[in-house]
Chain length 407, copies 2
């Protein structure tokens, strides 16, 4: 079973790879699109890049933002609305789906795509981070992790093989290897042990996969130790994965330290594989990470903050509950063309939000994701036209002017 | 300023009225559509009728169901979704909007239509029922009612003139006169006093209106006393309103008693004015009320029950949380063509509902309103084709067979 684009191991420079392609043949003779990554434009190995990820469920251009659909739904939105926003790849989560409704249930109902009526691509996080941040009890060994559900205290065991099997049973397009995510701050010896385990688990994950069309990404851990991050990236690179995730960042550290870890990791990763910075971030984070060569992002900020009444705008953040907006006939963002901004005033949105109306959460979520997707479009355009530095400067301009910012 | 169709006082039989029309001239010489009701088909004065209500914000055929948009939003849905469902006339509520965000705020933001981005017609309930059912304190006199907000305990005064002025300030299409809604059960002397006051308030409401294009309906009260209901209907009919509401029903009484009161009231109302049964009901209630000559309905059941996980289907009610649906790949209702039923399984909806995902509330609300609107379409068709009795019999058939009913 050929995996043409993944077997192309040359250090592909800009535009060096053949266009898309990536098709292979599944076992039944059915034509299955294999995962592939095409680098369309890049300047340095650790500078901004424009590319394209192709999966069995469609293609997306990178840098790409993945809206978070923890429980098999991007909160408040339908799949059609996600499509209208420009989403082609979303994130879901093994830890959450494993506990509720159960992966077996989703598999019996036709897999995650059919279950949630989403025909685009899906990446699932392995649950490593959730086991370490949410579970009420956990016990890690080289074998795997025993934990108790944060929902009902029930006891469960996950290991690298099972996590791959669960993701394959869901039928997702990009799988993440189980990792151990140490707390922050943590002593180096502890972080080293977790990183070594994460590396060993990545090997086991790779050995256990059975669905070649789905991509598998390991997680680069290493805490706030740049040398360890470098080592991990180098070791994982040798294992030749479809893409690479950067984990254990934005866990409470200073932003400067985040960028230091990103800078330590990115140059050690292969140029021709997508790089995925897990769990970040603000619009500013995205711009900074793209500038450093990151291709993929997921974050709950646009959706969660929407449900807390916060809108991202071109002039900064708007807290819609502020009394100043009670009689405001203007849109959330004068520069925005989204459904919410075209039809609803700040006064109305404030009223809906204070009344805890579900429509408030929908309209703010839609706006925030529109803002994020629009930001990604603008970044991709700027990179493709070789003017990312200008874009970055212009991006900060209205923010420095203050404007309507509420925070 | 002419109100042609409302000045046509003949006992219009089926198809007796001129088609639609109802246009008049506003003060600024601007062409304003006046409220009108056209009876398209009727058999008896108290049998099923097919008609059309025209307003400055579009026309709807009757019998018509009004989705409830208490706080200036039909919970979970956008106006575009309401349109897709076939809604042309929705209900909002003076009591709620008066307290939050305040009518003055809405007026300053361009009126209720613009505020909520709804270009269809709006009927507002006067708040009479809410003052008596929600307010934490109330003191009624012939003058009006003093009450305390259920939200913050603030003290307010409303009288018939103010309630009309508030509805006119919102710019709604159909206004309801302030009424006094006695509790149930209540002694006849008390109900008589409330009915007399409601009648006096209806006169004051009519005298105070200033926007001729908006309709004004009084509320027929009279508790569970058929003779009093008849008297009230006769007295209000003399006052020549644009339509008539039946209030104080479905407040805890036996269903048989509800229909007895409807039967006492309807024949006393003019044939050529719409009859609006407030706050009812189940699908069965709607069929029974249409059979008795009612034209308009509003009820929170389809929307509120959706948020409580209950779906109306052609075979009865489905409680989506039931364990039996965990692995069910079928739609809520095999016979339904709505967005929810075309794309989502019971298994998925159950998962969303148990996870308290907003999408669950959206999808169930959409389905339930689709069911209600479809029911109204089928009733209008049956009436127009002279086969309502057959429709009514067929309507009960799958229900008697049981099927998937969960309650």
């Amino acid at each position: 079973m050929g995996r043409p684009s993944l077997d192309d191991r040359g250090q592909a420079g800009p535009e060096a790879r053949p266009p898309a392609g990536g098709e292979g043949w599944g076992e039944g003779g059915k034509n299955i699109i294999m995962f592939s990554f095409q680098l369309k434009k890049a300047t340095d190995s650790d500078g901004p890049r424009w590319g394209k990820i192709t999966t069995a469920h469609g293609a997306v251009e990178t840098p790409v933002f993945l809206p978070v659909g923890t429980y098999g739904t991007v909160k408040t939105l339908t799949p059609e609305e996600l499509r209208a926003l420009g989403a082609g790849l979303i994130l879901s989560n093994i830890y959450h789906l494993f506990l509720r409704p159960g992966v077996e249930t989703i598999a019996q109902l036709g897999g995650l795509h059919r279950f949630m009526h989403w025909d685009g691509a899906i990446l699932t996080d392995s649950g490593g981070f959730q086991v370490f941040s949410l579970a009420s009890f956990r016990q890690v060994s080289d074998e795997g992790v025993i934990f108790r559900s944060h929902l009902d205290g029930s006891r469960h065991f996950l290991d690298p093989e099972k996590v791959v099997a669960l993701q394959e049973a869901l039928g997702v397009d990009i799988m993440i290897c189980l990792d151990e995510c140490p707390g922050y701050p943590a002593p180096e010896v502890e972080v080293r042990r977790a990183a070594a385990r994460t590396l060993a688990w990545a090997k086991r994950s790779r050995a256990s996969r059975t669905r070649p069309e789905a991509a598998l990404f390991p997680v680069v851990q290493g805490g706030m130790y740049p040398e360890l991050r470098r080592e991990q990236a180098q070791a994982l690179r040798q294992l030749n994965f479809d893409g690479y995730a950067l984990g254990g960042l934005s866990v409470g550290e200073e932003k400067e330290l985040t960028w230091e870890m990103v800078a330590a990791t990115i140059p050690e990763l292969p140029v021709d594989r997508p790089r995925y910075l897990m769990g970040l971030g603000t619009p500013e984070d995205l711009v900074e990470a793209v500038a450093r060569g990151v291709d993929m992002f997921d974050c709950v900020l646009p959706t969660r903050n929407a449900r807390n009444g916060m809108a991202f705008t071109n002039r900064g953040r708007v807290l819609i509950k502020n009394a100043a907006y009670a009689l405001d006939p203007g849109p959330l963002d004068e520069a925005c063309g989204c459904y919410t901004c075209r039809h609803y005033s700040r006064g109305y949105l404030r009223h809906l939000y204070l009344s805890r109306e579900i429509l408030a959460f929908r309209l703010l979520t839609f706006h925030n994701l529109y803002y994020y997707f629009n930001l990604m479009v603008k970044m991709r355009q700027a990179i493709s036209e070789g003017r990312f530095a200008d874009f970055r400067r212009e991006f900060y301009q209205p923010r420095r002017n203050g404007g309507n910012s509420s925070d």
